[in-house]
């Protein structure tokens, strides 16, 4: 274990904040208080934190439609994110983007994405910038098991391999794309696709923060040192449905129970660090309470915040009316 106490606390803080954020969004959405489409990350927290704890502020990530966890792990402000979800003027994108388009370039967050498979090609570009400018930075592209079937993912892995770019491809495999099982939609193995393009490819247990962290450290360090791109196939599961409002009739009750009880990355982390005597229960509980308070405040402030106005409609675009 290479992580010190401070880092362990940071990991748990991040995962709790993601959990609280998306749990709160789940309830707000059900109460009809939130507009649009939202896709929640609950159950996958160890992936975002395990990866992003190996990144610095200048490294970049590109995310997916299920992006809140990636954003928080990369350091986006939860108040600004929450305001964005409510479409408020002080939201992280001025209310113009919403849940699927959260971005904060100052934090190296190149954008969530409404287009499945839209992010990884952008990561190639960031990686090209770092390679050209010799900055030792890396760029990470997240995508799902469903997205792994898009041509853009294969094209990106090949290009990264050919140009030896510092690009990391992270397939977050939660077993489903909308209501369709991975077993149905993915021909062959996701891992083999990375290998086929010559990427350093690893399968990782996404419920286990430490496994994600170690695997990410290995491939990110290599990419920083000019050893080229990699693929991490992270096996995980999500608690909620595809989007809020999904009845999840394609999953059985037993599966839902198993995901909640046995595959919860926060519970698994907690158990591990306590059993190993690395952190005390009270510390972890304090973090849980702090996260709750932070998110509660974010929601309250977001609800009270102002909406954008007519002038805002015509800004940030090159044609003026």
């Amino acid at each position: 274990m290479q992580l010190n106490r401070e880092e362990l606390l940071k990991a748990y803080e991040g995962m709790c904040l993601i959990r609280e954020f998306d749990d709160a969004v789940h309830y707000e959405f059900a109460a009809d208080a939130m507009p649009g489409f939202v896709h929640l990350y609950v159950g996958e927290e160890a992936s975002a934190m395990g990866i992003c704890m190996n990144l610095n502020e200048k490294d970049t990530i590109a995310s997916t439609h299920r992006g809140h966890g990636h954003c928080i792990a990369k350091g986006c402000d939860v108040n600004d994110m929450m305001k964005e979800l409510y479409g408020k003027k002080d939201g992280i994108c001025g209310g113009k983007g919403g849940s699927m388009h959260i971005a904060d370039l100052s934090k190296g967050m190149l954008g969530a994405n409404g287009i499945v498979g839209g992010g990884p090609p952008i990561v190639l570009g960031a990686a090209l910038t770092y390679k050209t400018k010799k900055t030792n930075n890396v760029s990470v592209g997240f995508f799902g098991d469903g997205a792994s079937n898009q041509g853009s993912i294969s094209e990106s892995m090949n290009m990264a391999s050919v140009l030896k770019l510092p690009a990391i491809f992270v397939c977050e495999d939660n077993g489903y794309a909308e209501s369709t099982a991975r077993e149905y939609a993915v021909g062959g193995k996701i891992l083999d696709r990375g290998k086929a393009f010559g990427l350093d490819s690893h399968e990782v247990d996404g419920d286990n923060f430490f496994e994600v962290y170690e695997a990410a450290k290995h491939v990110i360090d290599n990419a920083r040192n000019g050893k080229g791109p990699a693929l991490l196939h992270i096996k995980t599961s999500k608690v909620y449905g595809h989007f809020e409002g999904d009845a999840i009739s394609y999953r059985t009750k037993e599966e839902n129970e198993r995901i909640k009880n046995d595959e919860d990355p926060l519970k698994i982390f907690k158990k591990k660090v306590i059993e190993a005597g690395l952190l005390e229960l009270t510390q972890l509980e304090n973090i849980e309470n702090e996260s709750k308070a932070k998110i509660k405040k974010a929601i309250q402030e977001s609800k009270e915040a102002e909406f954008p106005n007519a002038n805002d409609l015509l800004t940030d675009v090159y044609i003026k009316y």
Partner: protein, 333 residues
């Protein structure tokens, strides 16, 4: 006559055509749903439930769930159309055309002409378009002008349940590639829809209101807006024509010119981006062919030239509304 929703009308058209012709297959992401799971099959029936229930009639052989792979979906459907099937392929949101436009633009649309008339491509692409659901920039676009721009593909925009059924049946029977565009906000609207099968020919616009003082030209969701504005103006003593284009390709030029000549005052309401859209195209048509009949400059109501914003008040400002259309109409009445 039975009352059905736009969603039900589309579902019924698919059901009836699939029963009639075994070459008709439905291809798309989660068009049934539940594939490979231990839970419910037909779990989704499309994101908004439009194809729900077809699986139990036709099985997975003909209701074909695919991976997320729009290029392969459109290519497979085109190739199947070229070789003996009559596929209805779903492009879940029209915004995703960005992923697969080559198969539409350079392949399927051009087969017949490019191959010297030898190819028949009876392909229907069903897709959702339009704003109002707070779905933000990548899930709210109209984009029908981009398809209308391409020769070889027919573009259909039903504005109500009756037309949705008749035009979809026509689309499936048509031997050219057709893109059939469903406005998300219309799925829950309802109207008279006969139980029996019927088709509506392409290139025949529909006069939904007739009047003497002004002509609204509309398509898809904007038809309802214009009908309501026409009804409001009627109470104020002005009668208006509303022309529902129904198909953008082929375009019913005769009805457009007839409507223009009758009133000489035109307001075109188009939800797509304002540059090179249907409104500018029709405006050019009227100016070229019927300039002398105009009693005022042609007016257009469109969104501004920006992506679709997420924030609810911004999206409301962005979209054409009855209020905006009424104000513009009054400028020339």
């Amino acid at each position: 006559m039975p009352i059905k929703t736009y969603r039900e009308a589309i579902n019924e058209a698919l059901l009836q055509e699939m029963k009639k012709d075994e070459n008709v297959v439905v291809i798309g992401e989660d068009v049934a749903g539940g594939a490979g799971t231990n839970g419910e099959q037909d779990a989704w029936g499309g994101v908004l439930g439009v194809t729900k229930g077809l699986l139990k009639h036709f099985g997975r052989e003909r209701i074909i769930d695919t991976p997320i792979t729009e290029t392969a979906i459109m290519g497979m459907a085109s190739g199947a159309a070229l070789t003996g099937l009559r596929p209805v392929a779903e492009l879940m949101f029209v915004d995703f055309m960005g992923v697969c436009f080559d198969q539409i633009l350079n392949q399927t649309a051009k087969f017949r002409y490019m191959f010297g008339g030898k190819a028949v491509t009876p392909l229907t692409i069903r897709t959702m378009y339009g704003g109002g659901l707070r779905a933000a920039s990548q899930h709210s676009q109209c984009l029908y002008p981009m398809f209308t721009h391409v020769p070889g593909i027919k573009v259909v925009l039903p504005s109500n349940p009756y037309d949705a059924k008749g035009l979809l049946i026509q689309s499936i029977r048509d031997n050219d590639p057709v893109i059939f565009m469903e406005h998300k906000n219309l799925y829950d609207t309802s109207g008279d829809v006969p139980d029996e099968s019927y088709s509506i020919p392409f290139g025949e616009a529909n006069f939904t209101r007739e009047g003497k003082d002004l002509t609204f030209i509309a398509m898809g969701q904007t038809v309802e807006i214009c009908n309501n504005v026409a009804d409001t103006l009627k109470k104020e003593g002005k009668t208006c024509t509303v022309l529902d284009l129904r198909t953008l390709s082929p375009l019913d030029e005769d009805s457009i010119l007839e409507a223009a000549e009758e009133t000489g005052k035109i307001v075109i309401v188009d939800e797509s981006y304002p540059r090179c859209n249907v409104a500018t195209d029709i405006s050019a048509l009227i100016c070229q062919k019927s300039f002398d009949s105009l009693k005022a400059g042609i007016k257009m109501v469109t969104p501004p030239h920006t992506p679709v914003p997420f924030s609810p008040p911004l999206e409301d400002l962005y979209l054409p509304s009855e209020e905006k259309v009424l104000n513009v109409a009054k400028e020339i009445l």
